[in-house]
Symmetry: C4
Subunit: 253 residues, 4 copies
């Protein structure tokens, strides 16, 4: 096995499909989004993706099963269009591997009829904003207008995107497809269900579907409590030395 | 030489063969098991395996021979089924290499008629249990029942398996084969003949053969003495500082 | 995508073309030279170059566009000959990648009719010379005479050239082309527009074109002021400890 | 350029040729041997060897020439047999690269009619023996007898050989050739012309040729003087602290 292998479980006939990807990345925003959609919208497994560019490890389950590390492709019916969803355990570990896997995945999505790619990622700010924005970058100018209409913020995200969330839409253009990268604003150190919820809100409007968000909202609320506690602890430990110094000084006076 | 090369020494006609693998790994459990079976059950060399993914070294023997680092495939007759045994000097050194070598080995075993793969590894616990278990993970549920019958413990081993002992059975499933990974419980820092003996006991029942274990038992007894001595020394050196502190304290009292 | 991909934007019919390359390197001399020529001489984009050997990153622009890291090929009309210009974000990140990308680029230039390659690089001296020379190395002896006539200095640059500026002309010879590497003398720690200007002076004479250098001269003057200030600061900080020591000593006396 | 490239300069018709290799390695023994034979026996360049597995550097000469890092193949007439000599700037930098280059070189030598491979290396002992032996390892038992007759010592060299000096003869066997690795005993930290001379003495008897060794003897004598001086300095610096301590102690007494 020297190349990425896509093992199809069934034949799919898809209606104007769009590829939406959520591999593990910053804040696990993409992963949370895509796994939630698969669970709540009846995602059906279409294919397993194995690659020599993934770590040479296999996973053991509690029940005694063993399986290679992999990515998985699901399909869901979302109204006007079918969605091809990409999720997985890992991203490729080398730069060459990232390009090879991304190329194979795009070719496969293209062969299924997809001409649009939306990758979901997190945009790390290192802080815990109350109102977290959803940022976007696109391969074709006219997409900016469409995305602004559904609440995506342009012009604030800048720099480089490392990994599959950037490569997939960017390489899509070379293959004659259109690409969008949607990034949920997030702290970066925590799994961020709030950011994931915001991204799904955008996707609902963009792709014209609705999904029951109550479970994600619950998860987001619980997550926020824990994250805020941890952040307060972190703040205390960072500020403490300065405060105690001040006290010492005041004693002397 | 850019790909793994399997050099066949003879043509083999095998009876319902099963691939059993024991490359160097944790506690050398797999290696000890497979080399012992080859020696005691008249293993016949079938093929040498060379790979650009092995280290770029060659080995010198006392008699002045030189040979590349390699893996080797033997066959043994074990009653109802023939066993294809994989042993070797090393595993591939990169992740891509591990996938490439595993893929080539599985294709070769498949071409010989093998549809079942049993990899032997060690499961490191960091301690020296008196009664060491044999753990299992499988690619197909129904195998759990078969393995429990012959003493394999399920549900205790968890996490990831790194390297060939995991990849071979896990990738086997993709190629239409069934895969089992049998892991002998072991400390992890020592060559463990006791654990190897336990694994052979399982294999005997699973595959319906018997092998004279007296030499391995002897080796296990001697090994255990040495390992226990080393462990005692390690314990002393770890505990010593605390004991001497206590003494000091008692002096003061 | 497992190999470097050259995506042609248009068909070009070129007059005795010569490949001139300026990828990011020492002092960014090559990059400044080639980008300046593209801007001032009406460079027309011919092709984009993508490669799995580039970092697995994509770039975001202020306007919300996303694109893969890439190299670009432009053409400019320069009098008697057409120039094919190579510029880009990066060089390949591994040694194997450097060879693969260089090979693909040379084959492409050859297919366009180019039989001559001039790579532009910087030659780092670690100091800020007032009169910076332009050094050369060539694949064919007779080129030395041509280059000396236009002010290129031979026999002073020595050792190895790392990266594309060396590989492109050196590998060119293997493919039946002639190669020149022109290196602007430079400090090495700063973007050097003075050195770039000197190199363009050489190219003008060598290839028989003229270009308005006023903007580059301006950039060079401003750059020099800043670089000299920084260098003075660096000098002060390096010399300061010794001077203060001397003062202390004189106090004691 | 993704694979090793052998660029033939001329067509060679060789008489029962044998491949002798001397790439850079321990004590540069192999390199000194092969370059000396090429110079003194009228070696004629047959081919240049380029590889993406070599460093991505090119070399500049004093006269202003530029060339890729490479290996080179020469032929010399040595009486009964023709010798194909391999020398070069470097060895491949990765393990995969070493296998690929070695494979290509062996296939090329085979295509020229070579069925025997003698690699020359150094065997590092970390000391400066007066009488330096020549060690050997072989792929076929019967070669031991032939080599013992010409003074090669067997059974003392042990362990692993890293790099081309081991891979070339060891992989030769897989390709239906016979392989010998001849290792000149050497300190390991110095270029060793004495060891090279000893190896040539062996080659003369083994292959039935004679070569004027006076220049190498001269080089060896001069080299020995320098090496011995350096070694004495190293010894002094290592022993000095202990001696000065002793003096201090005697003062106190």
């Amino acid at each position: 096995m020297m190349e990425t292998l896509i093992v199809e479980k069934r034949k799919a006939k898809l209606k104007n499909p769009i590829l939406v990807t959520g591999l593990p990345g910053i804040g696990l925003v993409g992963q949370v989004v895509c796994k939630y959609l698969i669970t709540k919208m009846g995602g059906k497994k279409l294919a397993d993706v194995y690659s020599p560019h993934f770590p040479h490890q296999v996973l053991m389950t509690k029940k005694g099963a063993i399986r290679p590390i992999k990515n998985m492709i699901f399909t869901i019916k979302a109204g006007k269009r079918d969605i091809i969803l990409l999720v997985g355990d890992v991203q490729a570990i080398t730069s060459e591997g990232q390009y090879e896997v991304a190329g194979k995945l795009l070719d496969y999505a293209y062969s299924l009829g997809a001409r649009d790619v939306v990758s979901i990622g997190g945009y790390s700010t290192g802080k815990l904003s109350d109102k977290r924005k959803v940022f976007g970058v696109v391969t074709h100018k006219h997409l900016v207008t469409d995305l602004k209409k559904v609440g995506v913020v342009f012009g604030e995200a800048k720099g480089a995107i490392v990994g599959a969330a950037g490569l997939l839409p960017a390489l899509a253009k070379i293959k004659g497809m259109k690409g969008i990268c949607i990034m949920g604003e997030t702290h970066g150190s925590y799994v961020d269900a709030v950011s994931a919820r915001n991204v799904i809100n955008v996707l609902e409007k963009l792709l014209g579907f609705t999904v029951d968000l109550s479970d994600l909202e619950k998860q987001a609320k619980e997550g926020e409590k824990i994250i805020k506690k941890i952040e307060e602890e972190v703040q205390k430990q960072t500020i403490a030395p300065y405060q105690s110094e001040k006290k010492d000084v005041s004693y002397i006076r």
